[in-house]
Symmetry: D4
Subunit: 221 residues, 8 copies
């Protein structure tokens, strides 16, 4: 059977074949017990486990069933890997943030990218309020194959980087901000309407989604 | 009497004292005949006339009553001045656009600024998609007392300029763009949420409003 | 000088170096005369010309100055190429639409992709209302390096394709629909919230933007 | 009298005649004491009791007055039945979810459907990210008279099912998701704009409402 | 082959088997020539043709290829039937409007319902501003198997009817209204949040969609 | 019979008894022929006719059937009165506008108020940009029994008047403005959130609705 | 002096003259200490005190300074009256709710109305899901001078009442509901777009505001 | 080096040169430890420290490293100054609030303005519900060089002040209010659409941003 039926979930064991990596558990709205059982089903089927938007309770429930479970606190990720990941490509995925408060989303992307066997380079807190911090590090950006650019508030960083380089940019708006940022909507609209071509956007705070797009760009060449 | 009652309008002849310049006619929603009569009332009271968001019909109706009427086509402004404006200050108001399509709004600001007796410097089409065009002209920006920065689409230009200089910036979102720009809403939100301090925002396409704020900054020192 | 100053525009001749292709003209909000002059500036600098969201008037104005101008009517693009494009890569960019009404946006992407020297494969009208049309053509999808998936109304097609394959998907919501589609907003939100990973989104009706992201994925490997 | 006046509520004892089942208590915004008293009024009038969006406090308050009260925890429903429900029809109402996090809403529908005397079939976690899970179970879907399809995030599942079968579909968007899902708005819009005909939509998280529509379709034939 | 590929469209000839009726043409965004060719493909495959949101140009283009084409002007529908429809069921679909301006949407539903072989009963202009008009006709409502209730402005009619009867109601918000009706959004939200159970909602102005849901309720019992 | 059934409309001849005045025709979305026939039905039943949001075509169609029809052009109203209205009350309804562009909405209110037999006092163009125009006329305001205050753009006038007097205020937002006025939404929200008590709000541009509320306040004392 | 300056507040002792009753304290966003000091200032100036949106902490702080303070718990109001209110008018203000969960808002209106010296009649839980409860009590409604109609969810009750009677209706949307009720926005839009004339609307949950409008209608005749 | 790299942050030590004052710490989304380390980096580089949107935990973390840290509780600001600020200009920045609940935002502006070396004058609780409180203090307003006007709810105060004086006004909408104030959106839109010229707007609750604009207006003359 290409999926296991747990009643509350049908764990998709076929996904590895179709998508190149196993089902990933999105934790919000699931009970710790449900998360742990799905994780066990994936692991017992021979795959590594990744669970996003996880809190400590979810981690402890998984840990009870799978001793190798690790909690990436800033990234809010629980992962279970049978062995150390080998790099599947030498191409670099660059991850850039506009500010310090964007770190949880950036780390969600970074941990996912590494889980999928890629090389990552982090460049944090280089937002447009002090653009020299970006320009000083332009060489780091240029050696990446693809960029994940994470920004909240007005979300202008992808546009600025998009004006400077010839790489695909995956822009991630974050819910950092207040008032008329409307929990990330302002940043999302900014990124959608960028006048610099070469930018595509994922959901607010969706570091995981950006990581998968970048992974496909790097791995499947 | 400090206003003239035309029935459909009470022309505010006292405004010059309170605000430093006479009532300005906002043309949308008024008939050409109404516009012309308000213009006549202002002119006959000894003031110069400025009418914004004007079309050709409004211009012709004013022209019939006031021979010195001039139509600033790109700016959509009709103005009537008794004599050539003397500069009231040596301080420069810089007007910057991200793109070519922002010109009508920028010119509305520029014509207003000049009408009010100020010195203006235009720097058009220096958006973030080609940021070197901005950096090459940074000296122009630095000699301004205050900046009006006009941008549509993602509206990131004020943030970038705001990261570089220590002047007040009046940001004007424009309705340039399509899809999720939502007729200027995206640019407005971007400017509202700028991480670079020193930026205040006026309504979408409101070149006139930006001009008046800049005027008060320059004149009333 | 790395840009030419036309007053109303600063044509960015340096962009080719930074971004791999010359400045592209976004026509909305520009006069035919402005469009034609920018086109001339680009062409005289030795580059090919691409102008998007163009109408017939813009085309005729360009044609007057540049005899090789071609009008791609469905795509609303004017292009001027010195010689026939050589393919710069053997990798295929697949362009898929949910319906017939999505063709103008898909063709904007297709013409851009070809202008940039890429190989394109079109698969039109395979929306989820008759999903067998998609499944019958899955082999076409699988041989693409990257997919541009164009859909209006509820915009569910990228999610369905994203569940089936391991390629990066650039999703383009279109303004096709009525009522609570809110001119493409419904489709945009659908694509943003896809439960299938590997999808990034560009602006409503932005076929050009999707094409550039796909181009960077294919060319810069 | 066809209603009982409790001051804070006028319990509608006539509803059973008009609508085929007694008044159902919507618990949010009511105090536990109010809920219990309304429940008592319904029960003492000879009807079974159903209370939705109930928490444990509401349950305990009802339990004190009506010993047969049962708390359906996942469904957040309190019910009081005098005797075991007899099936009123052999026609099946199918209830399908896209994911595990949609269970509370699906169970609200399922418990209601059974309370009203119908036969239910559950098919959970068959979302479009792994569409084979749906296709493998298409026979279950086909033997239903009507389908309740529950989905959060992008809410594409009703469209896909709607493309495959000739049954009425009641689509229920859920608040599962984050960022630009806007607490179910994205899913609601998706379902509203489905290109597959045969779909009607109820409020976000309104499992109860979907159940009643399905009940009328099955019972009143 | 279960679809015909016209290049710009893949006409779904298999749909009749899956959905019980052939592909229906949604005209907006398609050229008259495209509409006519799709219509021809459907007709030549032995099916009747229905095209919604059609204007006169679309009708004339279809008429040229298919002489039996009929234009239902108020409903904005073009239909082509080989012979007079036989009723497939004796059950009545009731179609009710709140006002006169809702007629085009109601007629779109009525023509579709009849095209699909059902019996329809119309009850127009019985909105809540004069509720006695509704109450006087309650017997007509009660003999229907299912109701399509069409209303713009505040869209309260489905709630009122939903309080009175035990039938499934398909509510159709219309774009009738102005100001804060936001082109049907107000009516849509009203219908979504009805306190009377038994109501499901389709898109603004989507008479066709309501008709198909009602058809499935009546025919597939 | 208490209504006349025209097929497309059920003219409510009973309304005069319930509401104190006959059915009023809302013209948008109705054909001139439909409007004229409803008007005839009302007139032949012995009532005066009022039709709002009317254009010239509607007027001419009514005029053909009812020779006494009058077109109030600014107000966009067609009225048919058998004889000159007698005042039904000595109490004054004050109608105030912020600007000249608000006149059409104010006149819709004024013509309706007079049609219903009330005394009206107009005070136009006294917005907050020149508040002395309001203060100079405060005596006019104070002798009114109730005020209708009409304003577009930021809609602040009702708040200011509400701080000064002890009368009920019916606030009418208008669609006058541009950009982030969002066609009257900004003014509507302003009026809804007034910190000055005593203000209630009707729909954007709904001069008629405000007039009826004011009429009930004056007449039914 | 016509106001007392407490630094954080300028208590408006002149308001009683202008508005007919003293300043009312809106508690949200103020500290209990601030609330108590403003209350003391009002009381020491010889006026009665009304504080809305108050919680227990605010009450206790006021109670400490003013021993006659009373807490109306459901209404969330703190009041301090020197002596029992005499009725200032025999006219009745009717307060009607659609459901039980609307009581807090209705009671805020009722307590305010009584505080201002008016006679109130309550009619609760007569929503459109069981409209006979309303029709049975129509005589209560008819003897009121003005009606305050409070409803959440779809907010249709004012429209239905507005179709039946010739009184001014102040409609109050409440935040009762979930999902696409958007915390009262759905009800607000419904009430704004009512097809029954004679309805004006106040802010969501603003029982106080409705009470003041009704008070002016009754008292100032 | 012109910035210090802390890994999670790149502290911009160059900003003082560009912008005239050092980097300011926006605390939300940062951990107390991150805030303290950024503060230390700024202080050790010889600059004063300002941290906005700070809570007590952030303050205590900073206090541990920098003994001179001060917590401005109402303003939610932590500041660290080496010595008492000397005034850098005699020009006054006026800060005005509509109500008491607006104080936290006004104080954020006031503390920032003083931190930057300016003279401030506070005028609190002079909203339009009692406009005499404003008019009595108009002389205070007139001696300011620039005004910061802070208001929630309907946000009408800047419009009223803007009609009276010839100074630049920086308007700050606050999230004070409920229901359709939508957490400050209503006030923001009001301020954006002001009919009185001379007003520019910053983000909801952004007292800091308003302070910086005012600072540039005063200091850089």
């Amino acid at each position: 059977m290409d999926y296991e039926d747990l009643g509350f979930a049908k764990v998709d064991h076929h996904r590895h074949l179709r998508k190149g990596f196993p089902e990933v558990i999105y934790c919000e709205g699931k009970t710790p017990r449900q998360i742990a059982q799905i994780a066990k089903s994936i692991a017992h089927n021979g795959h590594d486990v990744l669970a996003t938007k996880a809190d400590k309770k979810a981690y402890l429930a998984v840990k009870k069933l799978l001793r190798k479970a690790v909690f990436h606190k800033t990234a809010r990720i629980v992962s279970v890997s049978r062995k150390k990941k080998a790099l599947r490509s030498k191409q670099i995925i660059g991850i850039i943030t506009a500010g310090t408060a964007d770190l949880p989303v950036a780390e969600e992307a970074a941990v996912t990218v590494e889980f999928l066997g890629n090389k990552v380079e982090r460049l944090y807190d280089v937002g447009v309020a002090g653009i020299h911090r970006l320009l000083k590090n332009i060489h780091l950006i240029e050696r990446s194959r693809v960029l994940i650019v994470v920004a909240g508030m007005e979300g202008a960083l992808p546009s600025v980087i998009g004006g400077l380089i010839d790489k695909p940019i995956i822009a991630v708006p974050t819910s950092v901000g207040y008032g008329s940022s409307f929990k990330g909507l302002a940043a999302l609209l900014t990124m959608m309407n960028s006048c610099a071509p070469g930018i595509a956007v994922v959901n607010i705070d969706n570091g995981f989604g950006a990581a998968v797009v970048a992974h496909y760009i790097v791995q499947c060449a």
